[in-house]
């Protein structure tokens, strides 16, 4: 059968429609899901594949760590259950960190899409589950066995019949069974919705097979990426940074080789993996590599197989960016997110117009205890440091990077937790000075008003190594976490007695370019609005004028 080809107008219509289908799959998932991770942070991904397993469209909302993991996950699933053995109504799942997205918390749910008795597509949905048993979501586990239940590639449904034993197994092993199984089933439901929409789409446009369409989508996306890569001068670009681990610092190193229209990233020189749950399986490392290249080259090209093809990577086996089982991986994002600033730093000289200075990044504090009214509470407080500046653009205040979250409204937080927020304000002078200034961080003071002892688990970095400025821009301020005025470790677990106060100083983003080149009216405006102090104006910007 010869493959259909489409003119650029029809192709645009069909392509946008496929993305819209992926977006609708995400919508139905988000609305029926119970977990905050899915609702507020879009810690999820929905992907449509053709019958050959090439990804065609991904929901527009998801987090960077899902850039391109799904095609590999599908290959692993099809290796276990070959396509010609799949039946209509089969649902295949796994949460294996090395086959999925790098930690047990993410469940990957896949359904083949049948049309006239044959597979024409696959739909996959991935979400961060509320719980998966084991030690719970933290960075403290020593091996993956302590982290919870690992589900090998298995069939949750066979021809529409649910495997009750598998559901029971999950239910028995997790803390919040209703929510966890509810979220699992929301994934199943949205892949069913996706299958139905793909069938309607094919009927409407009289398409028998998606292969012709995917040839064109993948080829155009790949070509667009290759064209942009060609604009980067050939060469090997190196960078190394230190990041905070749990016991001691870790060294991350990369060499980015740009050759013609390809990019290869090698992580030789990176520290060995560690006995705490911050190791980054290679699938996650790859996702962050692809994401970092994508934002620098083709931010407007929708995600699909084509955006992965020109990029390859290697990391020595056993390094923290390529650990093998049974190393623990629960908090892999804590280290994995640094792949973006690591690579940006390497490419700063080669792509000065595109590179972003370092960002302050996220802070999240998992709080557990009892409210004043005696209700149990377990909630995560999200807040963010400043966004790094770009050539031509100041960084935004309190904006997450590279991952995405939504900050918690004060009125909602106080209502839910019994913790009282005394202050949430911008930190003047925290943004790295520069011709383009880094975004400001913030100061948050939070008091335990619940009348009970609470626990707070912090998962953050940037307390030793500040967000770096580039091309002459200055560094942003460091993160500081304090309990009753005493500085504490940002990856620890603490008891908050009634009346205890935690203070968070969220880092500012790095600046870009020589601060003395900053237009004087911008310095003056920053001064007038209190984003910088008169001392900083004089010291960094050489500005002696009045406010």
């Amino acid at each position: 059968m010869s493959r259909q080809t489409f003119d650029p107008i029809t192709l645009g219509i069909l392509w946008d429609r496929l993305i819209s289908i992926a977006d609708e799959i995400v919508n139905s998932l988000v609305r029926t899901s119970f977990s905050t991770n899915v609702r507020e942070s879009y810690d999820l991904s929905c992907v449509v594949f053709d019958a050959g397993g090439r990804s065609l469209a991904q929901g527009s909302y998801s987090v960077p760590s899902f850039t391109g993991t799904a095609p590999d996950t599908l290959r692993h699933m099809l290796a276990r259950f070959p396509a010609d053995t799949l039946q209509e109504g089969d649902v295949v799942i796994t949460n294996d960190p090395w086959l999925g997205t790098g930690h047990l918390f993410d469940i990957n749910v896949m359904q083949p899409v049948f049309r006239d008795g044959r597979i024409v597509a696959y739909v996959m949905s991935i979400t961060h589950l509320p719980d998966i048993g084991g030690g719970g979501f933290s960075a403290t586990a020593r091996t993956v066995y302590e982290e919870g239940l690992c589900l090998p590639v298995s069939k949750l449904y066979r021809a529409g019949q649910v495997d009750e034993l598998l559901v029971e197994l999950i239910r028995t092993n997790v803390r919040v069974a209703e929510e966890t199984v509810g979220d699992l089933m929301a994934n199943v439901a949205c892949t069913t919705v996706g299958g139905r929409m793909i069938n309607e789409f094919m009927s409407e446009y009289r398409i028998d097979s998606l292969e012709g369409l995917s040839d064109q989508i993948v080829q155009l996306s790949e070509q667009a990426l290759r064209t942009e890569i060609c604009k980067i001068p050939d060469g090997i670009y190196r960078n190394a940074i230190d990041v905070e681990g749990v016991a001691g610092n870790l060294h991350l190193a990369c060499a980015i080789e740009v050759k013609g229209d390809t990019v290869h990233v090698d992580f030789t020189g990176t520290s060995r993996c560690v006995d705490v749950a911050i190791n980054v399986p290679l699938c996650y490392t790859r996702a962050m590599v692809c994401y970092s290249i994508k934002v620098l080259t083709t931010p407007r090209i929708p995600n699909n197989d084509g955006s992965l093809l020109p990029i390859t990577l290697s990391a020595p086996e056993g390094c923290v960016l390529n650990p093998k089982p049974p190393y623990a991986t629960g908090g892999r994002h804590v280290i994995g997110h640094f792949i973006t600033p690591l690579m940006f730093g390497a490419l700063a000289e080669a792509m000065p117009d595109k590179i972003q200075a370092d960002s302050g990044m996220l802070n999240l504090i998992n709080v557990q205890g009892t409210t004043r009214e005696g209700k149990g509470v377990s909630s995560i407080f999200f807040c963010s440091g400043g966004f790094g500046a770009l050539a031509g653009k100041d960084g935004a205040a309190a904006t997450p990077s590279p991952s995405n979250m939504t900050g918690t409204p004060i009125e909602v937080w106080e209502n839910l937790t019994g913790l009282f927020i005394e202050e949430k304000s911008l930190l003047p002078d925290s943004g790295g000075s520069g011709e383009f200034r880094g975004g400001l961080g913030q100061r948050i003071r939070m008091r335990n008003d619940s009348g009970h002892t609470m626990t707070a688990s912090c998962i953050a970095g940037r307390t030793e190594f500040p967000p770096r400025g580039i091309l002459g821009g200055r560094d942003g301020s460091r993160r500081v976490v304090m309990l009753n005025g005493e500085v504490i470790h940002p990856k620890g677990r603490y008891l908050l007695q009634p009346g205890d106060t935690m203070t968070l100083l969220e880092p500012g983003g790095g600046g870009v370019g020589d601060p003395r080149q900053r237009p004087r009216e911008k310095v003056q405006a920053d001064l007038a609005l209190g984003y910088i102090s008169p001392e900083a104006a004089l010291r960094d910007y050489g500005y002696e004028g009045q406010t």
Binding site: R39, A189, E414
Partner: protein, 699 residues
Amino acid sequence: MDYRAGIDIGGTFTDFALFNDATGEVWTHKQLTTPHDPSIAVIEGAARLLQDAGVPIADVATIAHGTTLVTNAVIERKGASVAMVVTRGFADVLDIAYERRYDLFDLRLGFPTPVVPRNLRFEVDERRAYDGAVLRPLANLAALQDRLATAIAQQKVEAVAICLLHSYVNAGHEEEIARWLRETFPGLHVSTSASVFPFMREYERWTTTCLNAYVQPVVDRYLSLIESGLERLGFHGKFFIMSSSGSTLAPALARRFPVRMLESGPAAGALMSARHGRTLGEMQVLSFDMGGTTAKGCIIKGGAPLKTYQIEVAHVHEFKKGSGFPVKIPVIDMIEIGSGGGSLAEIDARGVLRVGPRSAGANPGPVCYGLGGERPTLTDANLILGYLGASSFLGGRMRLNFDGAAAAMGRHVGQATGMDALHAAWGVYDMVCEDVARAFRVHASERGVDYRNCSMIAFGGSGPVLGSRVAHKLKIPRVICPWGAGVMSAFGLLSSPQGFELVRSDRTSLASLAEDTFCEALRKLAAEASAYLEASGAKPGELTHRFALDMRYEGQGYEVEVRLPPGTHLGAAYRSLPESFAAAYQEVFGLSFTGRPVEIVNWKVEAEGPVPGRRAAYHLKHSSRAAAGASKGARAAYFPELGIVQACPVYDRYALVAGDTVDGPALVEENESTCVLLPGDRAVIDRQLNLVIELGAPS
């Protein structure tokens, strides 16, 4: 006093309608908007309309007015200088915003600059807990006095937004500050966040309040101009302003809550669709309004537009959701689609065609306007396809440049796609129809509405050109192009009742909620909403109340709105709440859970006066067929169903009379638009001169 008038200001024209309740007669008028001072056209046009109709202004009982004044002030940042009084420690909430990126890949994403600059945000000592208890008494207001006086003198501050944490639970401190401000600085406009809209979530509530303050002086001046102008004409009736939610506000309420007028303009169009829907017996309608830069759509269900309580305005980054201000107001639930007649066609980074959201605007406009536009737009495509006539555009007042449009289309779209100008134009047109259809599909499915049971009402300059094609894509059976859609939105104003909506955030578990508490809370809310309307002259006996609750399963983040059926006994409504919630949840999500605890998050009431002129019958003056009949000959037009460009009959909309039928393919021309009938479509002219198109079977 049998007459009522509607006046609707649009970007280009200000439209007028005069209606006689006793006889059903309607007169209409339109004239150019006067952007520098819109009140000029309003007063002039009102005088002209009455003169033409021979009606003394003393006989006009009410005038209802819709205006884009507030939207424009916010988008163009032409509001007043505003200061903010805020709980100590939280002045930066406006900058910190959501702490979220709305685009994960575009590092150059932008966020709107708050309307209150950081150095005009004054912190006060006070604090309430989440339950309203005072943790720190309000103190030291006098310390503000000098700083505010300086701000008023130097930064020309005209309005103050008072924004305190948890004020939606207890507004005591906000009110105390407001009293003090009014006494100390009598000329200032004052908005308190608890009165503007008492929702939980400080960033949205405060942003809404600051915008309210930002437009308050502008609206106050504008309304004074209109009121004095009408008074000079001798008007002694009642004057109302259209709000975003489709009900009207007396001037005193509009001055207090001008932010509620943000969508005043589009609301008039939606109301017109609703009115036509009722007249035509269409209970489910897709209202589709496409103008020069954007298209607006909404769903009319049971004769009324769907409502919501949040919109986003003044996007700073390519119409992207997340790049504007979130505003909490009662508003008709509209989709905004970033494509209109002026939308530019271009080949995007992928190498495929994209139309909009970039727009040629009014200046330079489409290539065919000959005003210097060089890049092809949807309007250029419509001309190339033959849907618009080069010599009949705007009733022949503006000649369009066909050759220029075709050359630009060939150069910018054709060359990259290997097509001639005609097929490139078809691509542009079809792409926009797809975008509109997709937007409706998503909007409807998110609201649990089966759009295939709807009819579409298409209006605006480009709406009737695309309506039938979009309807074909959505597989809906009928498209209605109302007569003289432009002026009919002024007519829509006349069917809008006076109304006011109130909301309270009070998270309450259903399990611990007693029937008495429930009924009492709603009665209290209803009485409060009524008091607003009674203060502006509504009669207590005439007011009706509709209740709605935002509910969710405990632990979920999304609320589903549960509307209590009008007129239900509150006790009965209380007892059936679990079932009502399950049904509403099922409608949106396709499933519901049994045995999960449920909670109420927001309590809402809509108080409404009687709908004026309920009678459906109206008839237009001055509509009679010219002796020559309605045919204007034929024009070459392209329909892919027919394969080639061929002669297509053209009709004069103004010469068609009730009972006439038109078979597609056909082009029915009116001054501001053309209704395009596809092959197989058949249109009938109804008694109100609406063009009712029954769609042909898909080819």
